[in-house]
Symmetry: C2
Subunit: 420 residues, 2 copies
Amino acid sequence: MSVQMPRIVVVGAGFGGLETVRALERAPAEITVLDRQNHHCFQPLLYQVATAALSPADIAWPIRHILRAQKNATVLMQEVLGVDPARKVVVTNFGETPFDYLVIATGAMHSYFGHDGWAPFAPGLKRIDDATRIRRQILIAFEKAEIARDPEAMRRLLTFVIVGGGATGVEMAGAIAEIARQTLAMDFRRIDPRNARIVLVEAGPRLLPAFPPEQSDYVRGVLGNAGVTVMTDTMVTKCDAGGVEFGSQRLPAATVIWAAGVMASPAAKWLGAEADRAGRTRVNPDLSVPGHPDIFVIGDAAAVTDAKGRAVPGIAPAAKQMGKYVGRLIAARIAGNTVSKSFRYMHAGDLATIGRRAAVVQLGRFRLRGYFGWWFWGIAHVYFLIGTRNRFSVAFNWLWSYLTFQRGARLITRAHDDAT
Amino acid sequence: MSVQMPRIVVVGAGFGGLETVRALERAPAEITVLDRQNHHCFQPLLYQVATAALSPADIAWPIRHILRAQKNATVLMQEVLGVDPARKVVVTNFGETPFDYLVIATGAMHSYFGHDGWAPFAPGLKRIDDATRIRRQILIAFEKAEIARDPEAMRRLLTFVIVGGGATGVEMAGAIAEIARQTLAMDFRRIDPRNARIVLVEAGPRLLPAFPPEQSDYVRGVLGNAGVTVMTDTMVTKCDAGGVEFGSQRLPAATVIWAAGVMASPAAKWLGAEADRAGRTRVNPDLSVPGHPDIFVIGDAAAVTDAKGRAVPGIAPAAKQMGKYVGRLIAARIAGNTVSKSFRYMHAGDLATIGRRAAVVQLGRFRLRGYFGWWFWGIAHVYFLIGTRNRFSVAFNWLWSYLTFQRGARLITRAHDDAT
């Protein structure tokens, strides 16, 4: 490749970053993909790793393998520390990488709304490592309850609190209920896992606010039947090693999982750009950063509104659409064309599953729930997975779990250096 | 269950411990299984996790799930810290557990022959965590080589040294060669993984000393064709962050894997019993510890000789035979019978695989190698795996790898806290 070719740097190989690179497949350019992980992770199924239904390798695939056939793209496993927009270089832990075009698709992390001290007690779920950590914590709680002699300690160990009633919170609560009620039901001698207390806490008035209220009611009913206590209009005011507090009420719990809020990656800080309250970079209608026409921020890292002025949600399809748009825009610019069309978000729909045979699906006016919704959810997720092997493997694991009520990945790893 | 029932404590749920518990299925006893891990690990395939062919969950299964139907057995995830033979209690990190019969099946760890300082630079392969650590290290070496600018640093990153020419060393060397030559061949832009240097070092005169010399020659030839440099009669005299030394010769290498020696778990120390040079407890012909007729040590933790006075090897079938023997012996004693028959080891054979379509099999006078040996090896391993799901999953992963040359579990996890 000639050194005169434009250099495009894409930071982050999530849904948005990968789609950008793919849209540049035929562009005469040198694309460099930087990611601190070696794998692309299918985040919508991360909660299934956290609840031992799938193995990490089922939902993750090496980035360089995904892009192996795209010869204009080089993948480097590096962590970005900052950007110098004036000199047009990205600073990583291995040095500087110059760019002509920069696409930042670094996603978001969980946010504790200013209470970062809660993080050790209420882990969130964004990466493979988070998922195996939460899996370990859930499984160890049952193991320790079997050993505990004090009924109060046992009760605390068997209490699981999920903070946040969005899709991740609902899915986690449903999955933990299934583990306690079915998967582990016969495996213990001193405790009955079916007595585990699973509490889903939501600060707003209802679960799954992206769905219509009837669907929220339906989900609440299904979770209730599965043994989940749903608390809406309830704000967590404290998390510590012993449990959680809601105002004056204290709930002792060994496991607290944070699914309540996200904070965008520090792209805005790197660029000295304006950000919204959730840390997302405010971008122009073409997703470029004000004052930097060659630097773009996409996906969960960007604050974008749709045609009706509503915020584009932080979900995979939105990130993919932005990636495709920016990839094409850069390709057009390289070809010497100007692009005047703004980015326009198309909302395909919302999906969430609640456990065995129950899910809610909302695609415009098309609605599904219950058994058929659950099938739709499963097929859609298998379809969007990368790689035939992963599709087979996930489908096989799900079929197996469905038939046997078992979960194939009940592994506690690194228990020896686990402090809790 | 009545409290008058004899209390049997089994420490370690490897091949030996599990077999002991199973042999006691109908015994009127309270069996407690103590293990610091929650899972039984199928160690013969651990190297496949270390080389990204299988996921941890494919070769591990929760101990309590394996024993869920055996109602006289309770599984507790506890780490044993010592034994008080006089008071007949096992001391764990959660307190004391009294016993009438004790079976110690705690296996072995890798041994650096007095050079414990080498451990951080040359990890061994005994547990799931070791395997994911080695997998991370191998994959990161290629990632860093892609980033490296200095040819010497690149060369060091692409050098992999395996110390020890037994089954584990041979299997690791063959698998790493396959990763470099085939799996990763097309995935990099700046380096050619096929140039990786894979060195298998053995202190003795030939590989696989358990096999006849012709088989050793065959294995050496296959490894050589696969691109592995085999060094026999070569003793490692130093391991450090930069590589390894053999006397005055130094080989810079980013990855060194230790498959050279094992040291039994500290059972002999706990009991104040006599041990051999490898730390294995010397036991009576009925596997009990001299002076303690109710305490048994089995599997890799015990020094046992066969009818011809040869040491029983540290392999799964031997541990299983000992477990079955001791379980039956205890059951007989509980029933009021005396057992005069000593433990007698039956050697079924040896198997080792070298890579795609090549393995050596030695079952008494029956020998196989090459393609048919490889099939025999694969079928035997799938057959001995615990759980139908694991058998399916492993078979599927192998078939997939065979057809595509890919490996499904190329994940670098916890890269952020990895110092190297």
